[in-house]
C-alpha cells in the first residue's frame, strides 16, 4: 500500500500496455486500409487504364477527303474495351476533333463493336498520301497512310 503511494504510476502499467496495443492496432488497421485501398485502386486503374491498352483495337473503316479541307474518318472498335480517341494527327500535325454525335466534346468515345465518325480540318492535297494517326486516352495508337482523291 505504501509502495503504491510511493510509486503511483506503477499501477497504471497495465492501462498503458493495453492503450499502446490498441494504438498500434489502430495504426496497423489504418496503414493496412490505406495500403489495401491504394493497391486495389492501382490494380483497378491499371486494369481499366494502361493494362487495358492490350485489349484496344481500332480500325480505319473509311476515310473521306471532303471539300473545304475536311476529312471524315469513320472508326470501328473491334477490341474488347471501349476506346476514347483524344487526338488525331495528320502528317504528324495535331488536328482539332469534331465529334459528329456530340459537338461539345473534344474527344470521341467508341464503345466495343461500334462505329464513330470524326471530322477534322486539314488542308489535304489531291493525289497525295497523308498519314493519319489516332491516339486514345490509354495511349494506344493506330496509323495508316491514305491517298487523297
Amino acid at each position: 500500500m505504501n509502495n503504491q503511494r510511493l510509486h503511483p504510476l506503477k499501477n497504471r502499467r497495465g492501462v498503458s500496455h493495453i492503450f499502446s496495443n490498441v494504438l498500434i492496432l489502430l495504426v496497423i488497421i489504418i496503414a493496412s486500409s490505406i495500403t489495401f485501398s491504394y493497391v486495389a485502386n492501382y490494380v483497378g486503374d491499371y486494369q481499366s487504364g494502361r493494362g487495358a491498352v492490350l485489349l484496344q483495337r481500332l480500325l480505319f473503316e473509311d476515310v473521306w477527303f471532303k471539300e473545304y479541307n475536311k476529312i471524315e474518318i469513320t472508326i470501328y472498335n473491334y477490341g474488347k474495351v471501349s476506346s476514347k480517341v483524344v487526338e488525331v494527327f495528320i502528317d504528324n500535325r495535331i488536328c482539332s476533333i469534331y465529334n459528329i454525335d456530340d459537338p461539345t466534346e473534344t474527344y470521341v468515345a467508341i464503345p466495343v463493336e461500334e462505329h464513330r465518325t470524326i471530322v477534322v480540318n486539314f488542308e489535304w492535297s489531291s493525289g497525295s498520301a497523308h498519314n493519319l494517326k489516332l491516339l486514345t486516352e490509354r495511349g494506344y495508337t493506330v496509323e495508316r497512310d491514305f491517298e487523297a482523291p
Binding site: S32, T35, F36, V43, Y46, Y78
Partner: protein, 268 residues
C-alpha cells in the same frame, strides 16, 4: 507450461494478420499478372482468328432477262477456315467523291457465300444517280473482327472488255466541230497498276487514211479515269459526220492498250 503457452500466443494475431495482409497483397499483384497474361493469350487467339479470316468480295453486273437491264450485285464469299460475321457495307462513288454506308449483318459460314441484299439501299444512298455506264464505284465490307474486303465496280464497258485501258463509249465521241474535228475520249484503267498513254492513232476506215498523234496524258492510276480532248482546226484532221473512225491507244512502250470504233457525229 500452460502459462508459457499463453505468453507465446500473444504475438500470433499480429503475425497471422501480417501474413494475411501479405497474402492479400500478393493475391492482388498475382491476380493482376494473371489477368494480364490471360488477356494476352485471349488477344493472341483473337488476332490469330482475325488473320485467318478469308473473305473475297466481288462486285459485278448481271444481265436481267426479265428487265433487259444489268443488275449490280455484290458477292461475299468466305474463303477462310472460320465463320465470318459481316457488320457494315460501304459504297464509294469514285468519280463524284461520295462515301455512303449501311449496317448489315451476315453470318457467312466456311465455304459459303452471300449476296448483299441491301445493294439497292446502298446504291440509293448515294448523292448522285447510280450510273453503270460511265462511273466507277468501290465497294467494301467490314467484318466483326475488324477486317476489310473490297471490290471495284468498273463502268460496264470496262467490265465487258478485255483491253487494259477501256474507252468508255457513253462518255466519248468523235465529232465534226465547225470546219474542224473534235475527239473526246474518257479512258478507264482496268489494271491494278498505272497506265501511261503516249500515242493515239485515229484511222478513217472509209478513206484508208491514218492519223496518229503523240498525246500527253497524265498517268492513269489503277481503277482511275482520264479524259483526253483533241481539237483539230481547218488544216487538221476533219472527219465527216457518219464516217467510221477507228481509235487505238498505245502506251509508252508502243503497245496497243485500247481500241474502239466511233461513228463521227454531227457538229453541234
Amino acid at each position: 507450461m500452460t502459462l508459457k503457452l499463453h505468453r507465446s500466443e500473444k504475438g500470433i494475431g499480429t503475425v497471422v494478420a501480417s501474413i494475411m495482409f501479405l497474402l492479400i497483397t500478393i493475391l492482388f499483384i498475382g491476380g493482376t499478372f494473371l489477368w494480364q497474361s490471360t488477356n494476352e493469350a485471349h488477344m493472341n487467339a483473337f488476332e490469330k482468328d482475325r488473320m485467318d479470316e478469308g473473305l473475297s468480295v466481288e462486285a459485278s453486273y448481271k444481265y436481267n432477262d426479265a428487265t433487259g437491264f444489268y443488275d449490280t450485285q455484290l458477292k461475299m464469299k468466305n474463303t477462310g477456315p472460320i465463320d465470318i460475321q459481316i457488320i457494315q457495307a460501304w459504297i464509294t462513288d469514285v468519280d463524284n467523291n461520295d462515301h455512303q454506308h449501311i449496317n448489315c449483318y451476315y453470318a457467312i459460314p466456311v465455304d459459303s457465300f452471300e449476296d448483299l441484299a441491301e445493294m439497292g439501299v446502298l446504291i440509293d444512298s448515294l448523292e448522285h444517280p447510280f450510273d453503270i455506264e460511265t462511273t466507277s464505284y468501290f465497294f467494301k465490307v467490314i467484318t466483326e473482327r475488324g477486317n476489310v474486303a473490297s471490290s471495284r465496280l468498273m463502268p460496264r464497258a470496262a467490265f465487258l472488255s478485255n483491253w487494259p485501258a477501256v474507252i468508255v463509249p457513253e462518255a466519248s465521241f468523235v465529232r465534226r466541230d465547225g470546219s474542224g474535228g473534235l475527239i473526246q475520249l474518257v479512258i478507264y484503267n482496268r489494271l491494278d497498276n498505272p497506265i501511261h498513254l503516249a500515242l493515239i492513232v485515229a484511222s478513217r476506215l472509209e478513206h484508208g487514211s491514218e492519223h496518229s498523234e503523240l498525246i500527253e496524258v497524265d498517268m492513269i492510276v489503277a481503277g482511275g479515269k482520264q479524259e483526253v480532248l483533241l481539237e483539230y482546226g481547218d488544216e487538221g484532221q476533219i472527219y465527216m459526220p457518219g464516217e467510221i473512225v477507228f481509235i487505238e491507244l498505245a502506251d509508252t512502250d508502243g503497245i496497243v492498250v485500247s481500241s474502239y470504233f466511233f461513228t463521227c457525229q454531227e457538229s453541234l
